[in-house]
């Protein structure tokens, strides 16, 4: 397995905050979105290097939010 490098971007994922606001667990989100818990954990913990539009679409559908609610750019 390749060593995971430190993020080289300034994007922060607010999945944990939105999950808490929706009172939803990661397991439930995983089942509803069809993305493994492992991948959602990578996303939640800020270790993801990229996110597919398809994944983002599903997340926005299930969490009833906009991409801008999930992702922010920190200067």
């Amino acid at each position: 397995m390749a060593r995971r490098a430190e993020p080289s971007h300034g994007i922060t994922v607010h999945l944990d905050r939105i999950l808490a606001a929706r009172n939803m667990t990661l397991t439930e989100l995983s089942e509803r979105v069809g993305v493994t818990q492992a991948n959602l954990s990578i996303l939640k913990n800020g270790h993801a290097r990229a996110i597919r539009f398809a994944t983002l679409t599903k997340l926005c559908q299930v969490l009833r939010c906009q991409p801008g609610d999930l992702l922010t750019y920190d200067r």
Binding site: A2, R4, I42, R49, A50, T55
Partner: protein
């Protein structure tokens, strides 16, 4: 027809086979040298020790020892004179060993690094920083080794020759006529190629890390 999809094939198989062969040769050689049944690189029962002096010169066409009779008008030349001794002392044995050991050491080192490269790539994957690092190491071994090995061997040959002749010799000639240099030159190019290829693998490793981190 079924295609072999192992990306490390056939390098993996060849490396294991060659490494086993070299280990077998070394074990048999050391055993033979100790028991006196055979000679290895100047030690054990080597018979005679020879070194070539490449200045050469003309040869008498009528010499009965020559394998062929030259036609009229044909001049015969030899490319090297070979100096041999049937009773080498320890110093001569050591110099003789050093005329062969560097190339063998280079070959053995390359095989070992190749073995580590193949084993690491099989364990961690091809597109990893480790594979790139080992490829780079292999490249440097080839570059440095193929430059230093002929220099060391030629220097040892000069010293060996000096023990066999009574007059002083110049140290500027290449005893093997420079053949070792031209023979190992392609290895330098291969080494440089491996350095470049290791950069390809680094790019691949970066892409793989991106894929691993894509959700």
């Amino acid at each position: 027809m079924r295609r072999d999809t192992d990306p490390l094939s056939p390098l993996s198989g060849w490396t294991h086979m060659l490494l086993a062969f070299v280990v077998l040769i070394v074990v048999c050689g050391v055993y033979g040298a100790f028991t006196g049944t055979t000679g290895v690189m100047g030690f054990g029962n080597v018979g005679r020790i020879c070194v070539d002096e490449p200045s050469g010169g003309t040869v008498d066409p009528q010499d009965p020892l020559l394998p062929h009779d030259a036609r009229a008008g044909v001049e015969m030349r030899t490319t090297a004179y070979s100096y041999c001794t049937k009773t080498p002392d320890v110093a001569q044995r050591i110099w003789y060993t050093l005329t062969m050991l560097p190339t063998f050491a280079l070959f053995a080192t390359v095989l070992l690094v190749l073995f580590r490269l193949v084993r690491g790539a099989a364990r961690e994957g091809i597109h990893t920083n480790g594979t790139a690092r080992r490829l780079r190491a292999l490249g440097w071994v080839l570059i440095v080794g193929s430059i230093l090995a002929p220099i060391a061997e030629d220097a040892a040959a000069v010293r060996l020759l000096a023990t066999m002749v009574s007059d002083p010799i110049g140290g500027s000639f290449l005893p093997d006529g420079g053949g070792g240099w031209t023979g190992l030159l392609p290895l330098v190019l291969v080494g440089v190629g491996l350095l470049t290829f290791s950069r390809f693998v680094l790019v691949g490793a970066e892409m793989r890390a991106d894929l691993d981190g894509t959700v």
